[in-house]
């Protein structure tokens, strides 16, 4: 499936270095499928926010149905658990626009067709302000134009590694078919690696 745009309402999770333990605490990884994980998104942060008399963005009534997550720098750092982007995707998030991403998280997200795009620090502040406006705005993350925009009102540039953009817009973000396409070439690399010849005797 080619992914060229993601349109919807925004939900904002503020703060830097939101790690994957916070997105999906480890106790919820005791599963053998990804189904239903979305119920546990930010589980502990949501309780913490309530304890402080506040409301976590994912608990706000207007968050339901949002499809674009706005976040700060280094979003998704820490563990490689794909459970985190899987849960976001299953909750309904189709794109994350953040100041920056941790590398493994961004790779995991792309592999399931969840768009990760970056904006500058100044634009992030403006975007968060837009996102928290009432009534909620409908915005589009546009991978062809590399912008996030709301109708004719405003737009700002987004960034994305060219490889990621190509994978999403060409529909080749699920890489397995591509990797299986040239089986013989894999065998040729395999055959010339000295350590495979050496270890095959022990296998």
């Amino acid at each position: 499936m080619k992914i060229e745009t993601v349109t919807g309402r925004m939900v904002v999770v503020r703060g830097a270095d939101i790690d994957t333990d916070r997105i999906m605490p480890a106790r919820f990884l005791k599963v053998i499928s990804f189904e239903g994980l979305e119920a546990h998104l930010f589980a502990d942060d949501r309780v913490e926010a309530r304890g402080q008399g506040g409301v976590h963005p994912f608990d706000r009534p207007d968050a339901a149905g949002a499809s674009i997550l706005i976040a700060g720098p280094n979003f998704g750092c820490g563990s490689s658990r794909e459970h985190a982007p899987q849960a976001l995707r299953r909750w309904g998030i189709g794109a994350i626009v953040a100041a920056s991403f941790a590398e493994i998280f961004a790779g995991n997200a792309t592999a399931i067709g969840l768009v990760c795009a970056t904006v500058s620090a100044e634009d992030l502040d403006a975007l968060m302000a837009h996102a928290e406006r009432d009534p909620p705005l409908q915005v589009t993350v546009d991978l062809a134009q590399l912008v996030v925009r709301s109708g004719p009102e405003w737009q700002m540039s987004i960034g994305m590694p060219s490889a990621t953009r190509h994978a999403l817009t060409s529909g080749e973000w699920d890489a397995t078919e591509l990797l299986l396409a040239d089986y013989d070439e894999v065998s040729r690399v395999e055959a010339r690696l000295p350590y495979l010849r050496a270890t095959s005797r022990n296998a």
């Binding site: 270095d17 333990d21 563990s79 490689s80 794909e82 995991n108 591509l178 990797l179 040239d182 070439e185």
Partner: protein
């Protein structure tokens, strides 16, 4: 042309350039555990594919393994289901599994090296971010997600973008009481938790040259905490001697010597170009402890906590959030802070030398009465070797619990976890909110010796002020 180890290993495993510009990279060794693999096998089966290279795939159980009461079926039904799923998948595809009855089970990043599976010049993938550990051997080792585990199972390759290489030289020497853990915590503090994004870290310099493989693994392990997916050390005599005689190392003297020759040639060439270079002086590193909610929030043990009022507005919110969560006040020292739990273990510091270091601190001492202290060896082999040296007796006499091998309280997927807002002195790698199993639990990352000293004192202490016995066991 002069090249880095990264260049040589990457190029040797390059299959082809994919349409999006990424590299299809051959994976020479695929390591697995029970948490990130079941969904990958399901995806594989749903598409009617099989495992391309079961002989280059090895599995063990670590994350959910109970470290007490290990008889099957496990009391925890979900842990049992995950274990059964891995056993079933390995049996179906002929993948070797180092299970609880093998004598070889343990944390995947401890098991791979100690069996000699991990070798210089390999590409190593595992559904676990701490796969960077294996870089200590001069391998390119990186964590992947479950969809990529599927990719590796099906094709023995992954789609990856080439990384830049940052050379980090740690020169001079380390002062007494300063360990590999302090070195990597200092590096992360200096370069930031995101500083390594897009980079592989090549660690070198006289301090790394002098380090054992265990110490190099501690450094490479936490590369990901600095944002670098890959960290490595060039192979040398220390690497070669570590691997000699290991189960999966080349057998036969001639084969081994040939391999060793090849391994040495993989080291970055003298004139290699780096995309960035950083120099750190070993003597400037002090025992380092985290105070906050990510591994970059640390201080030298004789420093005081930061004051949010004294930093830029950009940094303030993060520091305030961390101080609030940790229930700490600006400007306070960490020494003298009461701890409730002491955890020695994990893929960062759960190897034999770590247990020796901790045992040398607690020998003849006793854990403070208010502290719950546990030692969780990184593998069954580490546990057996420690027992052969009598380390378990030192720990048990001192009031530590002596457990079976696993990830345990590093991420608390088994029964080992913090309760309420307990403060834990921990030799693990992450101090994220809720990481050790209680949403309000608090973690202070430090070296195993510092954890041991904190367990005895009942509070955070500066290891340099503690009379330390001679290291137990074999000479280092």
């Amino acid at each position: 042309m002069a090249g880095t180890l990264f260049d040589k290993v990457w190029d040797a495993h390059h299959v082809r350039t994919l349409p999006n510009g990424q590299t299809q990279l051959y994976v020479g060794l695929h390591l697995m555990h029970e948490v990130t693999s079941p969904q990958a096998f399901d995806m594989l089966h749903a598409r009617g594919w099989t495992v391309r290279a079961p002989h280059r795939t090895f599995a063990t159980l670590d994350h959910i393994v109970p470290t007490q009461a290990q008889q099957r079926p496990f009391a925890d039904q979900m842990a049992e289901a995950m274990t059964a799923a891995l056993e079933r998948n390995c049996r179906r595809h002929g993948i070797p599994l180092f299970g609880l009855d093998s004598g070889l089970q343990g944390i995947v990043h401890v098991v791979g090296p100690e069996l000699g599976l991990t070798q210089p010049g390999m590409t190593i993938a595992c559904g676990d971010s701490h796969t960077s550990t294996h870089g200590a051997f001069g391998a390119l080792a990186f964590g992947i997600g479950t969809s990529q585990v599927r990719d590796v199972l099906a094709s023995q390759s992954v789609a990856l973008s080439r990384l830049l290489v940052r050379r980090i030289d740690v020169q001079g020497r380390l002062l007494q009481g300063v360990t590999a853990k302090d070195v990597i915590l200092s590096i992360i503090r200096q370069l930031g938790v995101q500083g390594g994004a897009g980079f592989a870290y090549e660690y070198g310099g006289t301090v790394l040259d002098a380090m054992s493989m265990d110490e190099r693994m501690t450094i490479c392990n936490m590369s990901i905490e600095g944002g670098a997916r890959i960290g490595y050390v060039n192979p040398d005599d220390t690497t070669v001697e570590f691997l000699r005689g290991r189960r999966f190392a080349p057998s036969g003297e001639r084969e081994f010597d040939e391999a060793a020759e090849r391994w040495r040639r993989l080291a970055s060439d003298a004139g290699a170009r780096y995309d960035d270079r950083v120099g750190i002086q070993g003597e400037a590193i002090a025992p380092t402890v985290t105070w906050g909610i990510h591994p970059g929030q640390s201080i030298a043990i004789d420093e005081r906590l930061p004051d949010p009022a004294a930093v830029s507005a950009g940094e303030r919110a993060g520091i305030e959030d961390a101080l609030t969560f940790m229930k700490f006040t600006p400007g306070m020292p960490l020494t003298g802070t009461r701890v409730h739990v002491a955890f020695i273990g994990s893929c960062t510091n759960g190897r034999l030398s770590d247990l020796r270091e901790a045992a040398s601190v607690v020998r003849g001492q006793h854990v403070a009465s208010h502290v719950r202290a546990l030692v969780v060896p990184g593998s069954q082999q580490v546990r057996a070797a420690a027992e052969a040296e009598g380390l378990h007796e030192i720990f048990l006499e001192a009031g530590f619990e002596w457990r079976g091998a696993g990830c345990s309280m590093c991420l608390a997927m088994n029964n080992d976890r913090l309760v309420g807002d307990e403060l834990c002195a921990s030799s693990s790698n992450r101090n994220f909110k809720g990481r050790q199993g209680s949403p309000t639990g608090r973690t202070l990352l430090m070296s195993p010796a510092m954890v041991a000293a904190a367990a005895v004192a009942g509070e955070v202490v500066d290891i340099r002020t503690v009379a330390q016995g001679t290291p137990t066991g074999a000479a280092r």
